[in-house]
């Protein structure tokens, strides 16, 4: 029993939503805007976190850089012997990396490694890191494995080119020369942003493009012995080589998460400001706050509606608008992120000019995010409408007998 009454109240509430069309629409638009922004940020932020974790898992346990005057500078490759001698170090391999142009103004990451050493680690991690073609070999020179982004961007160029195994691509060197490379493989990796815009080549070819001396490199990638304490190994290196900066995987994760987390945080802050205005709007314009609404509450009470019935009506009103608003917002965010590649937002959150195409943005939708968005859309509106309604509803309805 009682079901019929609730359905009556719900249909009356729905009538109210339609009756106060302008206000409902204003609220809805505000909500849709706010939830779209929140959702598209969250999808990217979560995708980024998942992606970073994957790329960190594929990366080394420890990275050693050289600091001179507090600034990172190139490392003499012979540091390798020194670092190898510390206990707990399984493998040390030099890397030379930086950014280069493929002639269309887009930057990509070029990474030069020792093919045998790097390949053995990747094999042992078990990552199926090359999708098409093969990994680099010891004797390779001017050969490269490219990320999917390079394939995509060439395919989308003015005169499209299919980049596959066997294709030849020229990179612009630090001093404006062109060096031609042959593609031997294409990455397929869990980590999209890490490898998406990456060119992997031998260390000497990378040095030639980036202008490094062959006896130096950018950093040393270190993998620790299985079962050894990575922090202890890092501490030894740090103490043993005073000029070094030693970053463990955890430290790198912290730096990355902080960078991206902060950017997403700013967007979330912006979002909260917008949400606040929605609430304010709800307050001033809501059924609950206005004189018209106050009179309606008085009338309903005089006609025998209980306080609880009136709250139920207001609740149905807010819930229907909030759910509709949040659902539309989530849908728009999905379209904006997944189909349009989040123009504007992605570049800001990822914070680099390396993003080549939509496919490069990592995106994740999770149940908790969706749930949070619904909750955040619902609760303030609910409070903003139900509280004033409650205050009206508990006052004596005798004012309805007066013409004010």
């Amino acid at each position: 029993m009682g079901v019929q009454k609730h359905s009556n109240l719900a249909s009356y509430a729905l009538g109210n939503v339609l009756k106060y069309r302008t206000r409902s629409a204003a609220l809805l638009i505000g909500l849709v805007f706010a939830t779209t922004l929140l959702c598209s940020t969250e999808f990217i932020r979560e995708g980024l976190m998942v992606d970073l974790t994957a790329s960190l898992d594929e990366g080394p346990d420890i990275v050693v850089q050289k600091l001179v005057g507090g600034r990172q500078t190139s490392i003499p490759i012979d540091w390798k012997e020194n670092v190898s001698s510390f206990s707990g170090v399984r493998l040390v391999t030099p890397r030379t990396w930086g950014y280069t142009d493929i002639g269309n103004g887009k930057l990509l990451t070029i990474m030069g490694v020792n093919a045998t050493e790097y390949g053995s680690i990747l094999d042992s991690i078990g990552t199926d890191i090359v999708g098409i073609g093969r990994f680099l070999e010891e004797s390779d020179t001017r050969k490269m494995v490219v990320g999917q982004g390079i394939v995509d961007v060439m395919a989308a160029a003015g005169n499209p080119r299919y980049v596959g195994v066997g294709a030849r691509l020229s990179l612009i060197t630090y001093d404006g020369e062109l060096i031609e490379f042959e593609v031997v493989g294409v990455f397929s990796s869990d980590s999209k942003i890490y490898s998406y815009d990456m060119v992997l080549t031998d260390i000497n070819s990378a040095a030639a493009v980036l202008g490094y001396d062959n006896s130096t490199c950018t950093d040393l990638a270190i993998w620790a012995e299985h079962g050894s304490n990575v922090n202890a190994v890092a501490l030894q290196i740090d103490n043993g080589i005073p000029q070094s900066r030693v970053l463990t995987r955890d430290a790198i994760r912290d730096i990355m998460m902080k960078t991206y987390g902060d950017r997403a945080g700013i967007v979330a802050l912006l979002w909260s400001v917008i949400l606040m205005s929605v609430v304010l709007l709800a307050f001033t314009a809501s059924t609950a706050g206005s004189d018209e609404a106050r009179r309606e509450v008085g009338l309903l009470k005089a006609l025998g509606f209980d306080t609880i019935d009136i709250l139920e009506i207001r609740m149905f009103e807010s819930v229907s608008i909030s759910l509709l608003g949040a659902s539309l917002g989530i849908s728009l965010a999905i379209i904006y992120d997944f189909y349009m590649g989040a123009p504007g937002l992605a570049g800001y959150i990822l914070g680099w000019s390396l993003v080549l195409l939509n496919g490069g943005i990592p995106l994740v939708i999770s149940i908790p995010t969706i749930f949070t968005v619904y909750a955040v859309a619902l609760v303030p509106i609910l409070v903003a409408t139900v509280v004033p309604a409650w205050r009206n509803a508990i006052t004596e309805p005798d004012t309805v007998l007066r013409g004010v």
Partner: protein, 226 residues
């Protein structure tokens, strides 16, 4: 004649922050018999509307008691007073309080929405009441599109939705012309005679007061003539 409603020295004081206080009703003691029309007259501001609010359980007296059928209802909690209003009292308000965006039928159906009557059934009943008051041709008009007299009848139809035993009408003739007032009074009279409805009307319209079976007159919050 049985007494349905009785007030015992009721006061209603509106405090606007001391020392600004308004004693809208000062010690009114009245008796309202069943099945007749009782009028409450008096000049503007004399406390008629306030007295009706007290009788209709829309507000609690600051002092004194309101009895309905010998039960002291003014002492009851909000929830019980609301339930009593819902089941047994019909109101015609001074300002009619119709919801302009809703149709005549939807307005009249409202009192049934907080009960377990289905919306369809409530609207069927509403149409029946409206047709009974000669508004069969205006059922689906928005009330904003109705004339003053038609709105008045919508308001009456709404007051009858819960088949009340007590009908409280505040200035029912304020927005309608004389001919319509006569129609209205005839309708009320018919219901009183047929259903033993108890009607209390506040007005300063001599035409209305002349129709009442009994009359109280108020001045300055007090009952001066019975």
């Amino acid at each position: 004649m049985t007494t349905v409603i009785r007030t015992e020295d009721v006061w209603k004081t509106y405090s606007l922050g001391s020392p600004r206080q308004v004693d809208a009703v000062k010690g009114a003691s009245i008796e309202i018999p069943k099945g007749v029309i009782t009028g409450i007259g008096g000049p503007s501001g004399s406390g008629k509307t306030t007295l009706l609010s007290l009788i209709g359980l829309l507000t609690k007296p600051s002092k004194g008691k309101v009895f309905i059928e010998d039960k002291e209802l003014s002492a009851l909690s909000e929830v019980f007073r609301t339930k009593f209003r819902r089941e047994r009292i019909g109101f015609i308000f001074q300002a009619q309080y119709l919801i302009p965006q809703l149709t005549a039928t939807e307005n009249v159906a409202i009192p049934k929405l907080c009960t377990d009557t289905s919306r369809g059934e409530a609207e069927r009943l509403a149409r029946e009441k409206l047709s009974g008051l000669g508004l069969g041709h205006r059922l689906d008009f928005r009330v904003a599109e109705l004339s003053g007299g038609e709105q008045q009848r919508v308001s009456i139809a709404r007051s009858l939705m819960n088949s009340p035993e007590i009908l409280i009408a505040d200035e029912p003739s304020s927005s309608i012309e004389e001919a319509l007032t006569k129609d209205l009074l005839a309708t009320l009279r018919e219901m009183v005679d047929r259903d033993e409805l108890t009607v209390i009307v506040a007005s300063h319209d001599p035409l209305v007061l002349g129709w009442c079976d009994r009359l109280y007159t108020m001045r300055d919050g007090e009952i001066v003539i019975q």
